[in-house]
């Protein structure tokens, strides 16, 4: 056990994967010599050399496309895209090829690669550096999309993603990279993909979120307990596939649901969760499912970003609303 923050936990997972499986290779911009813009790959180039930890030209489509080819031929590539806002040039490779090769070759070929992408706002970053467009990946057939919110989950889910025989988009909440430390086992362990987890028990309302919004949801839950509201917080962890059973069970239990994401609202994950809840738990609902989301706007720059990324105030307001309904 070592106390690690989320970035260090990911580094530890990558280190183990590189050490234990010769097929594992890292590929990305500035991940080698400098250890990545967030230092998540720190020290790995020095430890495993430039053939295992590969600094790539500035070309996201090329990086994902090359990794895709590598994966088909037996390598286990782990790609880093510098920020989610720079993943769009690679979107065609992901939707048209990475997510399809198993289907289009009827299992003859597969592409077990992991695409790690820091995402999300809340730190007043420059344009394009605060994207939260995870829904477009969750909407993409043939891939899995997961988001850890704790160091423990980050390591175990990344190791599970690497072991997965199918492609996984692994989103890392920038805002949580160094936010908290947690005891994390030194050895390999797997946190299964596709499974949500309850991070706080509660009986009045179910709060669904993932990534950095889990922390905001917990903050709100704590605050609301002072008002006598018992809020359950569920970390979805996996966006594709979504753990519908966990969602539906919680909604049926409490009868009140709020979903929190920092992404654009229209056709985002909050809408998906709301659709599922009403579909399978309608008759238990005591109030409409509230969506607390980023707006359908570009993430505003530092000066107004707090009007966009949900936090204590907006989450609490939504919870109070479902309580009063």
């Amino acid at each position: 056990m070592t106390e690690l923050n989320l970035a260090q936990a990911i580094n530890s997972a990558l280190d183990l994967a590189l050490a234990n499986d010769q097929r594992v290779v890292l590929l990305g911009e500035d991940i080698g010599v400098t250890g990545g813009v967030f230092r998540v790959t720190d020290g790995l180039y020095q430890r495993y050399g430039g053939d295992r930890v590969i600094d790539a030209p500035v070309a996201e489509s090329g990086i994902v496309g090359a990794a895709f080819g590598m994966a088909i031929a037996g390598i286990r590539p782990i790609v880093e895209i510098q920020f989610l806002g720079f993943a769009y040039p690679a979107y065609d490779q992901i939707v048209s090829h990475v997510g399809r090769i198993r289907n289009r070759s009827n299992h003859r070929f597969s592409a077990p690669l992991v695409i790690r992408i820091p995402y999300g706002g809340g730190i007043g970053a420059a344009e394009h550096h605060s994207e939260s467009s995870e829904a477009i990946f969750a909407h993409t057939p043939g891939i899995k999309v997961v988001v850890p919110s704790t160091p423990y989950d980050a390591k175990g889910m990344l190791l599970a993603a690497i072991a997965d025989p199918d492609p996984v988009v692994f989103l890392e909440p920038i805002r949580l990279y160094r936010a908290v430390k947690q005891d994390v086992p030194d050895d390999e362990y797997l946190v299964p993909l596709g499974v949500a987890t309850t991070v706080r028990e509660g009986t009045d309302v179910s709060l669904f979120s993932y990534g950095s919004m889990v922390r905001e949801s917990r903050r709100a839950a704590e605050a609301l307990s002072g008002e006598g509201v018992s809020v359950e917080v569920i970390d979805l962890r996996s966006l594709a596939p979504l753990d519908e059973e966990a969602i539906v069970a919680a909604a049926r239990r409490t009868g009140r649901a709020v979903v929190v994401t920092e992404s654009p609202r229209t056709a985002g994950m909050a809408s998906e969760v709301a659709a599922v809840v009403q579909e399978r738990a309608l008759y238990s609902l005591l109030a409409p499912v509230e969506r607390v989301t980023g707006w359908d706007t570009v993430v505003p720059l530092k000066r107004t970003e707090h009007h966009h990324v949900p936090g204590l105030k907006r989450i609490s307001a939504a919870v109070r609303r479902v309580m009063e309904a």
């Binding site: 070309a59 496309g65 590598m70 090829h97 198993r102």
Partner: protein, 346 residues
Amino acid sequence: MEPIRLLEVDGTLRGDPPVDLDETRRLFTAMVTARAYDSKCNAMQVQGRLATYASFEGQEAAQIGSIAALRNDDWVVATYRDAAAMWFQGYLWANLLLGRMGDERGGAPPEDVNVLPPSITVGAHMIHAVGLGWAESLQGSDRIAMALFGDGATSEGDFHEAMNFAGVFSTPTVFLCQNNGFAISMPRQRQTAAEWLTNKAIGYGMPGVLVDGNDLFAMIGVTRDAVGRARAGDGPTFIEALTFRVGPHTTTDDAARYRSDDLVEEWRRRDPIDRVRLYLQRSGGWDEAWETELAESARGAIEEAVTAAESVDPFEPGAIFDRMYSTPTSAMDRQRAALRRDGGDD
């Protein structure tokens, strides 16, 4: 720049042939077989037995010649127009047909054949060849990867990234561009202002070769050199093979809208199969009975493949949920249940 040519249009040879007479006869047979496949597909499409079909007539030397320079276990990543190449590397005609009938099982070549299903997205697949070859090097194998693509594909950003990665990482990749003069309706001159596509190679620090793509021998020669370099660890090569598609872009295209019959006739006179026949005749490696017989057995092989493809049973409704992941996810299971409950439409 003059394209490399070994075999003149009249079948006379410049210098030494790259392969002996037996191998030439084998490759001639392959080209004739491929053309038989091509005309069968066109016919089947008209009969409604195949979906849209993209003919490769006129490009047989570029495809068979380049593949002839590969080893059996090398990787090939090609397009919707490269059935001849894919087949010659081991993909089954029956699978190619099955794909054109709208069946995903057509995308699966035999286990020991390293050919990806045909790429329909223009441009995206060249970088896959880069990754495939790279993976082989990383694993200590000397397998190489060849990407086949058209002149139009060189306009896509992914072409650039593929060429650039191959240069930077010195991957064992052969970029075989069949410049057949058109990308659907657009002539090559509208794809780029460069005089030759070959001019692009220097921008990636790799050798570029211009070759007569209707010359089987020249195709074998330049590809062999490129493959040799790649296998020796000396990096990628870009080949521009000048050729022509005699047919329309696909069966839904009306080529008369954008090119003249004269141009087509001009290229028919440079037919890649005729040229080898003339060479074989000059070299005493041909007689009519032999060609009649091989044409006959080519057609027979294609008919067999058609029968095989057409007798494949339809998928069961739930199959679509089994193909997406190694093990169906919870979403696949839920949706399979929904389809079972409501039934599919027609």
